[in-house]
């Protein structure tokens, strides 16, 4: 089994608004003997500034990679935006000598140098590739066999495919198998692989809400009892904004939105309190009642 020790990259959105994700992720990580080492210094992954300046994005991402290189540890990230960005930039700088030299020219200003000695993975990729389904299965104490859920894995965990190289963006089987290992049924629904729209929320309110509502209606149509997300931004769209969507479109969903580690945590036998289920905006007691 690979060494399950990682530098924990928390990013910005999770400590800012979605600590239930972090809390539950740390719980399941401990159960699976994943050792998380806090990074003493990190910054925004860079993705939010890519539209403003590609060079700033590259440099901010590379600075984080350098910090993890100093620790001698591979990075684990909970946010697919962070994981995707750091993974892409790591690959780019390892493979493209010209870009590496250019970015190292920037990094020199802060006394840093990208060496290309580590890897970056999202939590789900660590679970699928480093921990393995079999090991996860062994920790499931209370299979969630009464539960049928819809997955919304988001975009950056799998796209762009040639740079991320994890699972199939058109049919994310690995991500679904991680849900099914908890005993829950993972339903197919229309436009399952579509974006939630969160990245344009600062520019246009209406489009992301309409997009998320569309997905919620497709999940409801197949009688999903909960949505499972692995991204703080997707979670905000489905959970935090759900009541707003209900008001805006005069519809009722009441669809609980769980972070994947909360789902797995329940199957491992953690209590709803330990997994911070009460921090969710949409009441998840229906889900708990089915266990």
């Amino acid at each position: 089994m690979p060494n399950l020790k990682y530098a924990m990259f928390l990013g910005c959105a999770i400590p800012y608004r979605v600590s239930s994700y972090e809390l539950s992720a740390r719980k399941i990580a401990a159960k699976l003997d994943i050792e998380l080492v806090e990074m003493p210094d990190y910054n925004c992954c860079g993705l939010p500034l890519d539209p403003a300046s590609h060079d700033v994005m590259l440099t901010l991402a590379a600075r984080n990679l350098c910090q993890a290189e100093k620790l001698g540890l591979n990075i684990i990230a909970l946010c697919p935006g962070c994981a995707g960005t750091l993974r892409k930039v790591n690959k780019l700088l390892k493979e493209d000598k010209h870009e590496r030299e250019r970015v190292n020219g920037f990094l020199k200003e802060a006394g840093l140098e990208f060496k290309g000695t580590i890897e970056v993975k999202h939590l789900m990729q660590v679970l699928a590739e480093d921990v393995g389904l079999q090991r996860i299965k062994e920790t499931v104490k209370k299979p969630l066999s009464n539960l049928s859920v819809a997955e919304h894995m988001g975009c950056h965990i799998v796209r762009p495919q040639k740079l991320i190289g994890f699972d199939d963006p058109e049919d994310p089987e690995i991500l679904k198998s991680l849900i099914e290992v908890t005993g829950a049924r993972c339903l197919d629904y229309m436009d399952e692989t579509e974006c939630c729209g969160a990245p344009v929320a600062g520019i246009n309110d209406r489009i992301p809400l309409a997009l998320t509502r569309d997905k919620l209606s497709h999940m409801k149509a197949v009688n999903a009892q909960a949505v499972i997300t692995v991204c703080p931004f997707c979670h905000m769209m489905f959970d935090t904004n759900q009541m707003r969507i209900e008001r805006m479109f005069n519809e009722t969903y009441g669809m609980p939105v769980l972070h994947y580690p909360q789902l797995l945590g329940l199957a491992m036998g953690f209590t709803p309190e330990e997994l911070a289920l009460k921090e969710l905006r949409v009441d998840a007691s229906k889900v708990v009642g089915l266990i």
Binding site: L10, C12, A13, P15, Y16, R17, S19, E22, L23, R26, E38, M39, P40, D41, Y42, N43, C44, P48, L49, D50, P51, A52, S53, H54, D55, V56, T59, L60, R63, E99, F106, L107, E109, A110, G111, L112, C155, H156, R159, P160, Q161, P169, E170, D191, E194, C195, G197, A198, P199, V200, G202, I203, N204, R206, I207, P208, A210, L211, D214, A276
Partner: protein, 183 residues
């Protein structure tokens, strides 16, 4: 931006292109930015637009049109377009483009040029300011930090903001941030 405002823009008549509006060097400017290299290979099939989740819910956002405007050299028009900022960077178009154009990266390259030319949405400026000041994209309130420790979470690391600011300035973005945005 409201839906009504977006729609009124569609209603605008589309006059013929004037040769004076065309900047023949613009394509080279875009191609210089990583991700923009293959822009001229777009043959306007429209796959990006057909598969774009944002386009499905917008009356006006059409990535294919943005690409065409950029190819033609309609620099001012494309850089000042509100549509530019509606790309969610979900990368569906990147995965689906038969010409391997990386549509979303071309749009990002266009945004980068727009920012250099003084068009920076206020949301982006705020993010940049927060990163410059704290290292993170959001200023995390004290209350949150207190809650973290109450919940048993490890303290949030303090980033070396001085070194981060140095790097941001070194890339030239610090100056753009000072200049400020247009909207």
């Amino acid at each position: 931006m409201t839906a009504e405002k977006e729609e009124s823009k569609t209603a605008e008549a589309r006059p013929a292109l004037k040769i004076s509006e065309i900047n023949l060097q613009f394509k080279n400017e875009v191609k210089k930015i990583p991700g923009g290299e293959r822009m001229m290979l777009c043959f306007q099939c429209g796959t990006c637009t057909a598969d774009c989740p944002i386009a499905r819910f917008s009356e006006t956002y059409r990535p294919r049109q943005l690409l065409r405007m950029a190819q033609l050299g309609l620099k001012d028009k494309v850089l000042s377009s509100d549509q530019l900022w509606l790309c969610a960077a979900c990368y569906t178009c990147v995965d689906h483009c038969p010409q391997d154009v990386e549509i979303s990266s071309v749009i990002r390259a266009l945004k980068n040029i727009a920012v250099r030319e003084g068009y920076m949405p206020s949301a982006l400026k705020e993010l940049g300011g927060a990163i410059m000041e704290t290292g993170l994209a959001y200023k995390i309130p004290e209350l949150r930090l207190k809650k973290r420790s109450e919940a048993g979470l490890p303290p949030l690391p303090k980033a070396d903001v001085e070194s981060i600011a140095k790097l941001i300035n070194r890339t030239g973005f610090g100056k753009l941030l000072e200049k400020g945005g247009s909207s």
